[in-house]
Amino acid sequence: MSDITGERAMERRLPKFIRRIDPAVATAFGCILLLLVVGSIYSTSFLSVEYLLQQLKVAAFLGVIATGMMIVILLGQIDLSVPWSVAVGGMMACAAAAFGHVGEALAIPFGILCGMAIGLANGVGVAYLRIPSMIITLATNAVAQGLMVVYTGGFSPQDSATAAMRYIATGFLVPGVPNAVIIWALIGAAAVFALTRTTFGRSVYAIGNRERAAYLSGIDTRRVVLIAFVVSGGLSAFGGVLLAGYASKAAQSMGDTYLLPSIAAVVLGGTSILGGRGSYLGTVAGVILITLLQSILSVMQMPEAGRQIIYGVVIVAMLLLYGRQRRTE
């Protein structure tokens, strides 16, 4: 007891703006600085503006996907259908591009729509059928994979990305700032607005804290959960569209490398995996942190095996630092 009061007293001595910062978010930003310092020791070009903008561009793809994941995690749920939602988004957008001018114009919305359909299946399962999200999203992921295998015949699809897809992923609307970064900023701003200034966002936090209480206070919790999953599916697919634009074509396993990073980015950013707590700023920090870590490992020419190991170890270590649950006993 005395520990807690002591801590409070110490906190009170700090200026207000420092007290308001979530320690998890501060730790994440601290780790980003640490990585930059380590990287700059390794190579001087690490702190150049071009390199950092390049990193932001790569981070943007993960950022878009992690935004959807964050909303779902805030509900206390999880979306494990990310890998094939990403792949479906990319592949369906490219597939639509094969249908003349109309198809080309509708490629991006069509890709996103397919992802939203996966999200809809997840949302119905979680909200209305009360199936644990971890299970139903794994199942829809398997179905999406099956559909794509049948569609492509087991090979990489031949259609390539449209000019518009390539432009939003790699073009420059504002000189020097990649379009992908602008898009991430827009989606991020929309997410911050939705989470902090709308009934939907407050309902998300309420449900994450205690769904029963949220229901009793008159929130249509099932509809909110459904919408959250649809948004998550749509954003994953949009991430896939961006990735397909970046690589100018879609691939079967393009989403596999985004599941763990998107969850890790959200959780490392201080969002509680049990739901109800977390800020978008933390997710931004988590996304940049993960991207920088990946970048440093590849600059050091670490083989895939080492990268996977370091990755797993770093995530567990950081979670042990500040992601532990409180004792329930």
């Binding site: 999880i78 399962g125 199936i131 794994l138």
Partner: protein, 326 residues
């Protein structure tokens, strides 16, 4: 109520899994061109046993209301390890087998330490450790290869007395050595109790943490037995990411088909084993009916989706809407 009706009520889920499997397998063998022969049974058994081991591993953790998303990766890691170690003469092979099982157990212990004593959520923690285990597997086998003691491999994948598949005997032996003592021990009961209601188990003074820890550790061990058998079937080690993921996913499907509740506290390893058999047989049914193999992933996905949706029927029994939120 009579004694046997209690038993029936307790075992209903397991019996249902056995029933589903029996029906599926009957359809399978009657449509198989070779019919019900020892060879058909042996091939089917060998394919199913791998999933059965991984599903057993998953069951132990699911009973405690946790989940282990790294079982598939432990399975792959021990496969790669076995392709290096389980070679040479009798002595070297024995040591190799012990080393492989020991490392599987170590992986499980690490999961248990992180989840229980580190107090992290099992989903995130085991996805992360799974990545690390896969990294180690990739380190061991950057390219598919290696070998295995073929005498031992053939003995364990062949037939006993020309009829009984040896892999099934091995599976039964593992059930007797691992599951039966566990489920009858205090820790096993505590695992069920903590999955059913952790506060109640805590109030009754049950060793919750040790029980959960043991469940994770044994899950690692069982997954490594699966990895060992994979090596016996393929004679090689391969760090296949897709395969590891698929086994994790299918283990959950098998557990659900086998009547083990994902909310914990209900079901048995026996049910999960038959769930695994049924799931494999469903996949093989497509071949018997001459479908394009391309449809297999979709078909398995749809079966999985239906299997997990069946749990939703419990909603019809809900009288008070607040029970939705468990």
């Amino acid at each position: 109520m009579k004694e046997w009706r209690f038993w029936l009520a307790e075992q209903r889920q397991t019996l249902m899994a056995i029933g589903i499997f029996a029906v599926m397998f009957a359809i399978y063998v009657t449509n198989h061109p070779a019919g019900f022969t020892a060879n058909v049974v042996q091939t089917a058994a060998n394919k199913s046993v791998l999933l059965a081991f991984v599903a057993m591993a998953q069951t132990l953790v699911v009973i405690t209301a946790g989940i282990d998303l790294s079982v598939g990766m432990i399975f792959i890691l021990t496969n790669c390890l076995a392709s290096w170690l389980v070679v040479g003469g009798a002595g070297a092979t024995t040591l190799g087998v012990i080393a492989v099982l020991g490392s599987g157990l170590a992986c499980g212990i690490l999961n248990g330490l992180i989840v229980i004593y580190g107090r992290l959520q099992p989903i995130v923690a085991t996805i992360a450790t799974g990545a690390a285990y896969f990294g180690i597997a990739l380190l061991l086998r950057p390219y598919p290869g290696g070998s295995v003691n073929e005498g031992l491999a053939d003995a364990l994948t062949g037939k006993l007395f020309g009829v009984i598949p040896a892999s099934l005997v091995a599976l039964a032996a593992v059930v007797l050595v691992v599951w039966v003592p566990f489920s009858r021990s205090v820790l096993g009961r505590a695992a069920y109790a903590s999955g059913s209601s952790e506060p109640a188990a805590y109030m009754s003074g049950m060793p919750i943490r040790r029980a959960k820890f043991l469940a994770y550790a044994l899950a690692g061990l069982l997954a490594s037995i699966g990895g060992l058998f994979l090596t016996f079937f393929t004679y090689t080690g391969e760090a296949a990411y897709a395969s590891g993921n698929a086994y994790t996913l299918f283990s959950i499907a098998a557990v659900v088909l086998g009547g083990v509740s994902l909310f914990g506290g209900k079901g048995s390893v026996i049910g999960a084993i038959f769930g695994a058999f049924a799931f494999r047989t469903i996949g093989d049914l497509l071949f018997v009916f001459d479908f394009d193999p391309l449809w297999q992933p979709l078909f398995q996905g749809v079966v999985l989706l239906i299997a997990v949706s069946l749990g939703a029927f419990g909603l019809f029994r809900v009288r008070n809407r607040l029970e939705w939120f468990g």
